[in-house]
């Protein structure tokens, strides 16, 4: 009948530590974020990061 005997195999995935060290990654993110190469925005990630860093500076810098 073509039934398959239950079995599992393992396939190792090389760690990509180029951006985030492996031990610092949040593992579930890879399963939750659907990367859509066609998604575009009119302001890039760099500008958003700059704004977040500016907020950190405002909060924790010597003056705000």
């Amino acid at each position: 009948m073509g039934l398959t005997t239950p079995s599992l195999t393992w396939q190792e995935v090389p760690a990509d530590e180029s951006l985030i060290p492996h031990d610092q990654k949040w593992p579930l993110l890879d399963d939750l974020i659907i990367r859509d190469p066609s998604a575009t925005t009119d302001i890039g990630n760099d500008a958003r990061k700059a704004a977040l860093l500016a907020l950190i500076d405002t909060a924790f810098g010597s003056t705000s």
Partner: protein
């Protein structure tokens, strides 16, 4: 620095931002910056004496900032600043990455448009084609903000507590494991600190008195998995802020709920040779994940997983790494990641199963049913297992279903039908039931400084609510506050989004802001509460006697809360 490291570690979420917030919330280059930063509060909304004031901050979602409970008698807003992360970015500030910040006078102008809906509409928060965050009758943020800092406009007491707020994107909250929300919550904390400093300077003006306004931040959010110690990014940041202090501000406290998952069978302790069932629900469109933590100082455990149809695989990871589990047809049915996490580092496996009902054809899927997790080899302290939260919040569209651990030797209720409280004294014995209730406190409350708030009943007074999470030692928190009238009448009545609206809600999310309110008043009245220990002492003095966790008691609120009905 902690905050900068989090931006790096959650960079994929930042890349994913266009999927999480409305397009209109993403700032555009051609939108002009405001002429000036503007004052935070109209003079009639400012505290009459900053020495007797405290700032209350609420980080939540769908916060009705135009609600009358957040105004003074003249109609001016007590919200000094609120970051609406989903609002249309009609104006930009250099440190607001998306959405829109409103300050008191801007809220005042919006309130003049007419009813509060006009204010939310003008921010793009009631737009059918973009964002419907405020187009609901009820919201969690309405309840939490009202409990933490809502006062009748005519009550001059409200002026002592200027408000700051952050309304998080609903899409981020909908995903309850907290994986997407860490970056946003950290940004929210950073915003609160930044604006609290500037607000404090505005309120003190040219005064030469040395007054530092205290700040109490309410974060009624919770997740289940994560390090048991204080090494999580949010807890580290909050601990650093409370411990080290911030220029311009007095004591800063973070108040968090213990969570509502005590009875949900999400935690267990397993020893070498033991296994446990992991029930994966069918028709679940979201991944299910569990963390398996080795003990501190012990070798990396060896684990095995077994599918519902009996296929077994021992995971061949002995050092940090990752891999995919394939079935006999070569299709992915799971993923396992091994890391060293925590402080001190412990081995942590994260086993992630894809949805049992994927939303896209061709995506990996996991068979539903009873999987089994086995500890093949481990040190004598065994392993802690904790399932990621994956439930469905009321009012949200997610179809997520929570997986659970199943232990044949564990009974969820006691013989008399009641829900059990802490684990029995012999829980750490190898023959004890594997499922744990101790340690079910939200990961956001596992730091060294947060005020952890559990829920109790109003009648009988102080009886811990069945769902309320427990600290590692089995206690219900640093303090408890009623969020349920009685065993048979759960919940309390709280404001909804509109002035005349009410909702009945339950949960530790409602207990926490009651403590925020109490703590802000204590600090504004001059109580010296620099840390969690001092908070406990202040509560002990206020309650007259007793042992922790202290029951805050029935609250006095500017609406009928139904706890004594």
């Amino acid at each position: 620095m902690i905050a900068q490291a989090t931006i790096r570690d959650f960079n994929p979420v930042l890349d994913y931002l266009p999927q999480l917030v409305p397009e209109a919330a993403i700032a555009r280059h051609d939108v002009p910056e405001p002429d000036d930063d503007g004052e935070f509060l109209h003079p009639s909304a400012r505290p009459s004496d900053p020495k007797e004031a405290a700032i209350i901050a609420v980080i939540d979602y769908s916060i009705p900032f135009a609600h009358p409970l957040f105004t003074v008698e003249s109609g001016h807003s007590r919200f000094a600043g609120i970051w609406l992360m989903e609002a249309a970015a009609t104006r930009t500030r250099p440190d607001i990455a998306f959405g829109r910040e409103l300050r008191g006078p801007q809220i005042d102008k919006l309130r003049l448009l007419g009813d509060p809906d006009a204010a939310y509409r003008s921010c793009g928060l009631m737009s059918p084609d973009r964002c419907l965050s405020m187009a609901h009758a009820t919201s969690h943020g309405a309840a939490v903000a009202a409990l933490a800092g809502g006062y009748l406009p005519a009550d001059k007491e409200g002026r002592r507590f200027p408000l700051l707020g952050v309304s998080l994107p609903r899409s981020v909250i909908d995903e309850t494991s907290g994986s997407l929300s860490t970056l946003f919550i950290q940004a929210a904390v950073t915003f609160v600190i930044a604006r609290a400093r500037a607000l404090a300077r505005e309120l003190l003006g040219t005064s030469t008195e040395s007054v530092k306004l205290p700040l109490v931040v309410n974060l009624s959010m919770g997740v289940t998995a994560g390090a048991e110690d204080a090494s999580g990014p949010l807890t580290r940041l909050q601990d650093a802020i409370t411990r080290d202090g911030i220029d311009d501000l007095g004591p800063i406290h973070f108040v968090v709920p213990t969570g509502n998952h005590r009875q949900d069978c999400l935690r267990a302790r397993l020893y070498k040779g033991q296994d446990i069932g992991w029930n994966i629900p069918p028709a679940d469109p979201t991944p299910n994940a569990i963390e398996i933590w080795g003990a501190e100082g012990q070798d990396v455990p060896r684990i095995a997983i077994r599918t519902p149809d009996g296929a077994r695989l021992e995971i061949p990871l002995a050092a940090s790494g990752a891999g995919i589990v394939l079935n006999a047809k070569g299709k992915q049915v799971g993923r396992v990641v091994l890391q060293k996490r925590g402080n001190p580092p412990r081995a942590c496996f994260t086993v992630i199963l894809p949805p049992t009902l994927p939303t896209r054809l061709g995506d990996p899927l996991a068979p539903p049913g009873m999987w089994r997790l086995e500890i093949v080899e481990a040190g004598d302290m065994g392993c802690d297992l904790v399932i990621h939260r994956d439930d469905r919040l009321p009012g949200f569209r997610s179809q997520a279903l929570q997986s659970r651990l199943v232990d044949e030797g564990y009974s969820r209720r006691m013989a008399d039908g009641r829900w059990p409280l802490a684990d029995p004294a012999d829980a750490d014995q190898k023959q004890a039931p594997k499922i744990r209730r101790n340690g079910t406190v939200s990961a956001y409350g596992r730091g060294e400084s947060q005020i952890r708030v559990g829920s109790c009943l109003a009648r009988p007074a102080g009886e811990i609510s069945a769902y309320s999470g427990l600290l590692k030692d089995g206690t219900a928190g640093d303090v408890i506050a009623p969020a349920d009238a009685s065993l048979s009448r759960t919940g309390m009545i709280v404001p909804a989004i509109r002035e005349a609206g009410r909702q009945r809600l339950s949960g530790t999310s409602l207990s926490a802001p009651q403590v925020t309110r109490w703590l802000a008043a204590a600090l504004a009245n001059g109580k010296d509460i620099p840390d969690r220990d001092a908070f406990g002492k202040a509560l002990r003095e206020a309650s007259g006697n007793g042992q922790p966790p202290f029951d805050l008691g029935i609250p006095e609120l500017p609406w009928r809360h139904g706890l004594q009905d």
